[in-house]
């Protein structure tokens, strides 16, 4: 370990005393490759955390461990009081409480927008179709595309597809939302419509972990910004402090690269 481990103390005041996610000394390897090294992270309910860092630093792997799309090897991850281990029941429980939005949307191309949104509620939550459709329309209105409900994902623009993906996750009524670079596959004029949706979500008190390089979004919404490099959390701070006074050299270099151009 090169840099001194950063203090685990959250810099910004948490919005609640309740712990949403607790990660303790978590390590993960891909074969011989040590992707995540001694990750310690506590997320309080209602907190909005932005994770940034150079490509390949393990940001995606970290948030994918939180809903067990990736398996960690040592340490503990506790989500909403449920520990992620080999118990399938626990994994199902966590997945039904954690929504995820992907860089490439990952909508189901053979289903309409409405069917994309009702599939999981119907088959996982066993909600009657009528009710699931009402919920879906509610969230589609929220992301402002109710009129596209009967179209197929392939007929929508990137920004619209990503908003459908957000609505699809929200239909499962998750308590935590994970975003993995939700805007980096989008054309500039579509980034705003997706970020606006996310800001609204944040204002409603959703617990959010967002991997993004949209520093404006971080400034406006985040309680905390986490900087990762080489599989480690290098620095975390509240956004104002993080951008004004980055402490580690790596952070300074990274910020100068993405802000400076």
């Amino acid at each position: 370990m090169t840099d001194a481990a950063p203090a685990a103390s959250p810099a910004a005041p948490a919005t609640s005393d309740e712990v949403a996610i607790e990660i303790r000394r978590m390590n993960k390897w891909y074969g011989q490759f040590h992707v995540l090294r001694d990750i310690d992270l506590t997320v309080m309910r209602g907190e909005r955390i932005v994770i940034c860092g150079p490509s390949g630093s393990g940001k995606s792997t970290l948030i994918r461990c939180i809903n067990r799309l990736e398996e960690h090897q040592t340490g503990t991850i506790i989500v909403d009081g449920t520990e992620l281990n080999s118990s399938l029941r626990n994994i199902d429980k966590v997945r039904s409480e954690v929504g995820m939005v992907f860089q490439h949307f990952n909508l189901f191309p053979h289903l309409t927008v409405l069917e994309n949104c009702t599939l999981a509620p119907i088959w996982v939550r066993k909600i009657p179709r009528r009710e699931a459709e009402e919920t879906a329309m509610h969230f589609l209105r929220k992301v402002r595309i109710p009129e596209q409900a009967d179209k197929y994902p392939g007929q929508l623009s990137g920004g619209q597809q990503q908003r459908v993906a957000i609505a699809r996750s929200l239909c499962m009524r998750p308590r935590i939302m994970l975003f993995d670079e939700p805007t980096s596959a989008l054309d500039p004029e579509m980034i705003k419509e997706v970020l606006d949706t996310m800001i609204e979500l944040a204002e409603e008190g959703m617990t959010m972990l967002v991997v993004t390089h949209e520093m404006g979004f971080a400034q406006a919404v985040a309680n905390r910004v986490i900087f990762m490099d080489q599989g480690q959390i290098v620095e975390q701070n509240e956004p104002g402090e993080f951008f004004r006074n980055p402490r580690s050299e790596r952070t300074k270099l990274f910020l100068s690269q993405i802000l400076g151009h």
């Binding site: 995820m100 053979h110 088959w123 699809r168």
Partner: protein, 438 residues
């Protein structure tokens, strides 16, 4: 700066152009003809030569087709008739066709105790004078005649229409229970419920209900032993059973091959490689001969059932590989999205992965089906009467000895019609699915 200059340098549009229709170009048949057939001296010459060749061919074939004799009782009878002699002089062998002779041995879907009428409809062609011997293949063992009373006895026992119908109803019942439970409970429970309902039905209700129905409405089928089924009935029976059964089996095999469970995936690989590595003929011989050695004689399974099982197992291996290709084309993101929404393995496969993978695989699957249907002619090897073998039988009779041209054309045409229909259906299906997705 002059006005002119300022206009060329900076320019602001003050009215937006309305959308205009595309230019009307010359279209239609005339244009197509001119561009494709008569666009130069060489092409004109080619077109004319082609037309001349077409005329030559059609002037021979069309009269033969239209003036064919469809109802003669034998070659001699046909030759004696004017229509027959007309073209026969030129082409020698172009006699009237007698497709009726190719009718399958007999399709006895008839009320019991009635004399069996030939099922010409199975060929869909005029069929009047079919001589008895054609339906009792000359090469069939004499024992067939010795066993004659058996079908009648079986018919007396109550026949077999309600029994199989009630057994089939068990599947419907199981499916209905599964569908009903699925939205209300987990998939495993729903499946178990369906299987249980079907089992209970088969164990306790099938017999009594079938018996009651047989008493109320006494209709029954005349049983036909397998060695008396032949021609296209046989091909379609094996082909259609194989097609319906091999698809689900192929899907399961493809999923097994991609399974995370080591044993399951290795078993699937071994199965697929072994089945594909050995010719179908060998498997059919296994079905015919070897199974008799291994199974006790009182377990003897009907040869037709054995063939259908073999053909199904064989086709399933090919279909599994086609579907595996389709599965490999599904992006990882689809699985991840399904996982993150909490969908289980079977739900993910059934609702998300297979619908997409099967759509991609349609051309390959239909290709396998077409191959399967044509491969059914191989059963002649194990003494079943496929259409080709029927032609031999027909030519071995005194009435029809000496014709073969018509027989083979007819057999080929019927296979072509079936296969072409499947191919067009697959294209139609593909286009429909394509349209709905994007």
């Amino acid at each position: 700066m002059s006005d002119l200059h300022s206009q060329t340098v900076a320019y602001t549009r003050d009215t937006m152009l309305p959308p205009a229709p595309p230019p009307v170009r010359e279209r239609g048949a005339i244009k197509w003809l001119r561009e494709n057939l008569f666009s130069g001296p060489f092409n004109i010459a080619l077109t004319l030569i082609t037309l001349w060749l077409l005329w030559l061919a059609l002037s021979e074939v069309l009269p033969w087709m239209w003036r064919g004799i469809w109802d003669a009782g034998s070659v001699t009878e046909c030759r004696a008739r004017p229509g027959c002699a007309l073209r026969a002089g030129g082409a020698g062998r172009l006699l009237g066709r007698h497709p009726g002779s190719l009718a399958p041995a007999r399709l006895r879907l008839l009320p019991r105790r009635r004399t069996v009428a030939p099922a010409a409809g199975a060929c869909g062609l005029p069929h009047r004078h079919h001589a008895g011997p054609l339906h009792r293949p000359a090469s069939a063992p004499a024992g067939v005649h010795g066993r004659r009373p058996l079908p009648d006895r079986l018919a007396d026992l109550g026949g077999a229409i309600w029994g199989p119908a009630m057994v089939a109803l068990g599947f419907v019942l199981g499916w209905a229970v599964w569908r009903l439970l699925l939205p209300r409970s987990n998939p495993g429970l729903a499946f178990t419920g369906g299987v249980l309902a079907a089992l209970l039905w088969w164990l306790f209700l099938t017999g009594p209900v079938a018996g009651m129905l047989a008493r109320l409405i006494p209709i029954a089928l005349n049983p036909v032993p397998s060695d008396r089924i032949g021609g296209f009935t046989l091909s379609l029976l094996i082909g259609l059973s194989g097609i319906t059964l091999s698809l689900p089996l192929g899907i399961l095999l493809a999923l097994a091959r991609r399974s995370d469970l080591w044993i399951v995936s290795k078993a699937a690989v071994i199965y697929i490689e072994v089945i594909r590595g050995v010719p179908l003929i060998v498997w059919l011989l296994v079905a015919q001969i070897l199974l008799n050695y291994f199974l006790p004689s009182r377990w003897s399974i009907d040869i037709l059932v054995r063939v259908i099982v073999m053909v199904t197992l064989f086709a399933a291996a090919y279909i599994a590989e086609v579907i595996r290709g389709g599965l490999a084309a599904i992006p990882r993101g689809q699985f991840e999205a399904a996982d993150s929404l909490g969908l289980g393995y079977w739900e993910t496969m059934r609702l998300i992965v297979l619908p997409q993978a099967l759509t991609i695989s349609i051309p390959g699957i239909v290709n396998s089906f077409i191959g399967l249907l044509k491969d059914t002619t191989l059963v002649s090897i194990i003494s079943l009467f496929d259409p080709k073998r029927m032609t031999d039988t027909i030519r071995a009779t005194t009435e029809w000895g000496g014709i073969y041209w018509e027989l083979y054309i007819f057999v080929g045409t019927v296979f072509f019609v079936f296969c072409f229909a499947m191919s067009r259906y697959s294209i139609w299906l593909e286009q429909r699915l394509e349209r709905s997705h994007r």
